[in-house]
Amino acid sequence: MKFTVNGKAVEVSATPDTPLLWVLRDHLDLTGTKFGCGLAQCGACTVHLDGRAIRSCVTPVVEVQGRTVRTIEGLAPEQGLHPVQTAWIEAGAPQCGYCQSGQIMSAVALLAAVPDPTDADIDAALSPNLCRCATYPRIRDAVHRAAARMRDAR
């Protein structure tokens, strides 16, 4: 099975029904993407497939053949951080941090589609992502900060 992860071509020998999540974590050792439920209920496993946010725990690897995957590890440029990551730090969003990779991947996808989201846009785009530490208000703040940063950078 061949596809692209974070700009690199990879080939893995998992069975076709293996969810992308486990290919990333156990075959490619990209452990930033997390397992939380396995049922598309929590968003911890959110990655981008051809730029769209998907739940990798329910995406068989066969479906990503020949396509492009981006994970939390592929977000930041060589040096430094993605503006969404910087905004997350500014807002002091993470607590335990376990959900945050998925939250950030959902936010990046949202901001690509809606550069200046309202609270309602954020609530809609990020409600698939659970945070047991309930950092939601700070995540909302972080998304607004990220939108402002990205606007300024344009």
Partner: protein, 714 residues
């Protein structure tokens, strides 16, 4: 690159970084032993480049403790904060370093800052003193003439040396008996919102959680236990499971079955492919109706434990003066975001365990027992915890992982499914409460509360604890002396209802329901006698509990009590837990018969504040954690099994239902240090239910709220 609070091994720490080590209770010679395999009994080390490594005795599970504890030590050390790194210490060395009186390493009960403030400040002061004396020796100057500032020692003539330059010399000096302390008035770090030290790791995916541990040659395991509590494995048919590519072995134990594979996915699929006949045992008849009936029977029991009694017995209250209502809360799971997992590597002379735990000592003891090694040969590594909330104060899955590793004799990582986690928890116990008030001449003269449910301490150390008043009082936390309210007649009672469901410490423990019972019922009483909810509380707060007034008033002021936006309704609650006081004002509207919470305003008095931003984060998270379970979550039982299994039927709060939480801190720097991790949780359920009453006239007396409103069970 990975980052973890345990990314340095003990020996790596000692050999590579630990030039200056400061022990709190060890003789200095031993404490300063650098590079030797002596017990790690220290809290700080400074390398030649100035890197200051602080050892946290507490696990980082999101509460920010690795930042707060480091602030305390770095303050007295007068360290350069930009050079501070934090790692969670390992169990055995740490425990031994503190001497025989300290037997358990536990992160829980909101105790980290209250317990560790003083030892860590002392360690920082001792280290600073040695650095100053090293500089004094170097310069031939009196130590008292030297000053420190952010990692540098200064001579009055302008000379200076960094801590890194002085660390080696300082490590050779004996620690002073009573090293000088910095005056509190010059605190530079403590009391400020320095950013958490784990932010970069946690936004880049670099933070290492237990589930991210990778050991060369490590196999993966998935396990399933009998769905009926206490049941055992009967027959196992495993041909289909073994046929799945990647599966190495199927291991059958007394009460669970594990599949081991090269990667986790085949192990999980193979577990699903097993055909297991369980010996379900005595609890196969357990169901929710039975639990409820047992709790209600508890409310009518003959001889309760009396935890507090003042004035006349409620038995003598005139019937016409009595108001009464029964309340109930369900079992709840902790459901930390990171499913439970544990990695074990056994070698002939040592055993390494990597696990997100709140109880390193229990892990250590279990590993020694399972492997037959001595405790000194066991190394417990604590990566970041993907949430704890009390669940990781148990050791059940660790024992499974150890049993699997002993059988396999290969490094192995056990990872539970979410379903296994929800169905085999140590739950917040279900409880019923009967609340009675005596009201005469428009005033509340008496309060009589009886709670009935199971006692967590009976599960932990039965022989030791059963019967002790302390143990009997645990389910009544929040009803006894900490309660702010005074009445002519008070009676607080507890009834033990023994149920076959595993229970444990869940964020805020008994406060999670005692606050709901009392703060809801007081609102009922206020409505009955036609008094404003806040006014009623103001009148009932005892003079001995004056701190509560300031907290209530601040929440009332900032939350604009009495002046909700149009179409919105307010509720209030006030509760003390773990030495800190929290009041919350909630504003909500009803949409299609269900509550939509718009705003939560919290005030908190936790005594001295180490890091205001962490306090705000914990109160925010604690309140929304409580809102989560108040709204929708409950565990049901049917045919001995937990009905729920994943987030579709154990619904947690999502972004769209999470209002902003405004947190205001009551400055109280001279009070004792209070906890902060659990304090935000207790008041939210009653505050929301009180607001629902204000909106609808309906009183929710059983949680969670949404089914109660939908089913008319309120």
């Amino acid at each position: 690159m990975r980052s973890s609070p345990q990314s340095l091994s003990r020996r790596g720490f000692l050999a590579g970084l630990g030039v200056l080590l400061v022990a709190v209770h060890l003789p200095p010679a031993e404490a300063a032993a650098v590079g030797s395999p002596s017990p790690l009994s220290a809290f700080v080390g400074i390398a030649a480049d100035g890197t200051t490594t602080i050892l946290s005795p507490s696990s980082e599970m999101g509460q920010g403790v690795c930042t707060a504890l480091a602030q305390l030590l770095a303050e007295e050390l007068d360290a350069d904060w930009s050079l501070v790194r934090v790692v969670t210490t390992e169990g055995p060395e740490f425990r031994r370093s503190l001497g025989p009186g300290y037997t358990m390493q536990v992160t829980g009960g909101s105790t980290s800052v209250p317990v560790w403030s003083e030892p860590l400040r002392a360690a920082g002061a001792s280290a600073r003193d040695r650095l100053v004396r090293a500089a004094a020796a170097r310069w031939g100057a009196p130590a008292a003439s030297l000053t420190t500032d952010a990692g540098v020692v200064h001579h009055p003539d302008g000379r200076s040396a960094t801590y890194g330059e002085l660390a080696l010399e300082a490590s050779k000096l004996r620690a002073s008996r009573n090293p000088p302390r910095k005056p509190r008035t010059v605190d530079r770090l403590v009391g400020t919102s320095v950013p958490r030290n784990d932010l970069v790791a946690k936004v880049t995916g670099a933070a290492t959680f237990g589930v991210d541990i990778r050991i060369p040659g490590m196999l993966r395991a998935c396990s399933v236990a009998c769905p009926v509590f206490g049941g055992r494995v009967g027959a196992v048919e495993d041909a289909a499971a073994r046929a799945i590519p990647g599966v190495r072995d199927v291991l059958v134990f007394e009460d669970f079955v594990a599949v081991v594979a090269d990667t986790w996915w085949p192990a999980k699929r193979a577990v699903e492919a097993l055909k297991i006949t369980w010996e379900e045992g005595a609890n196969a008849g357990l169901d929710s109706a039975g639990v409820s009936a047992a709790l209600r029977a508890g409310l009518d029991a003959e001889r309760p434990f009396v935890g507090r009694s003042e004035g006349r017995s409620p038995a003598l209250w005139p019937a016409e003066e009595v108001l009464s209502a029964d309340y109930e809360v369900p079992y709840l799971d902790h459901a930390p975001m990171e499913p439970l997992n544990c990695t074990v590597h056994i070698q002939p002379d040592r055993c390494d365990v990597w696990v997100g735990t709140q109880v390193q000592t229990m892990v250590l003891q279990a590993a020694a027992k399972a492997t037959g090694l001595r405790e000194e040969q066991v190394f417990v590594h604590t990566p970041y915890l993907g949430g704890g909330f009390g669940r990781r104060g148990n050791n059940d899955w660790v024992e499974q992982a150890l049993a699997i590793a002993v059988r396999l004799q290969k490094p192995v990582q056990l990872l539970w499914t979410r379903e296994e986690g929800i169905r085999h928890g140590f739950y917040r116990p279900a409880f019923a409460g009967r609340l009675r008030a005596r009201v005469a001449a428009g005033e509340v003269r008496g309060l009589h509360v009886r709670v009935a449910g199971d006692n967590i301490l009976h599960r932990y150390r039965p022989r030791l604890l059963q019967g002790l008043p302390l143990a009997k009082a645990l389910p009544m936390e929040g009803l006894l002396e900490s309660s702010p309210y005074g009445f002519d007649d008070v009676r607080m009672e507890g009834v033990l209802v023994d149920l076959p469901v595993p229970i444990g410490f869940w964020r805020s423990v008994s406060h999670s329901y005692t606050a709901f019972f009392v703060e809801s019922f007081l609102d009922e009483v206020a409505a009955k006698i036609g008094v404003d909810s806040v006014a009623l509380r103001r009148g009932l707060i005892r003079d001995s509990h004056a701190r509560f007034r300031a907290v209530l008033e601040l929440a009332v002021e900032k939350g604009a009590w009495g002046k909700p936006e149009a179409g919105r309704f307010q509720g209030v609650a006030l509760h003390e837990s773990f030495g800190s006081i929290c009041a919350q004002v909630v504003e909500l509207s009803m949409v299609g018969g269900l509550p939509k919470v718009h705003r939560i305003t919290a005030a908190v008095d936790c005594g001295p504040v180490v890091n205001p931003d962490l306090v705000r984060a914990q109160i925010m998270g604690g309140a929304l954690f409580g809102l989560s379970e108040a709204l929708g979550a409950r565990l049901d039982f049917k045919a001995g099994r937990v009905v729920q299994g994943n987030f579709h039927d154990y619904p947690l709060l999502r972004m769209k239902d999470a209002p902003n939480v405004e947190v205001h801190i009551v400055e109280n720097p001279t009070a004792p240090v209070g906890g902060i991790g659990e304090i935000g949780t207790p008041p939210i359920a009653p505050a929301v239910c009180n607001a629902i009453f204000a909106a609808t006239g309906r009183r929710v007396r059983s949680l969670p709220i949404l089914p109660a409103l939908a089913g008319g069970k309120a």
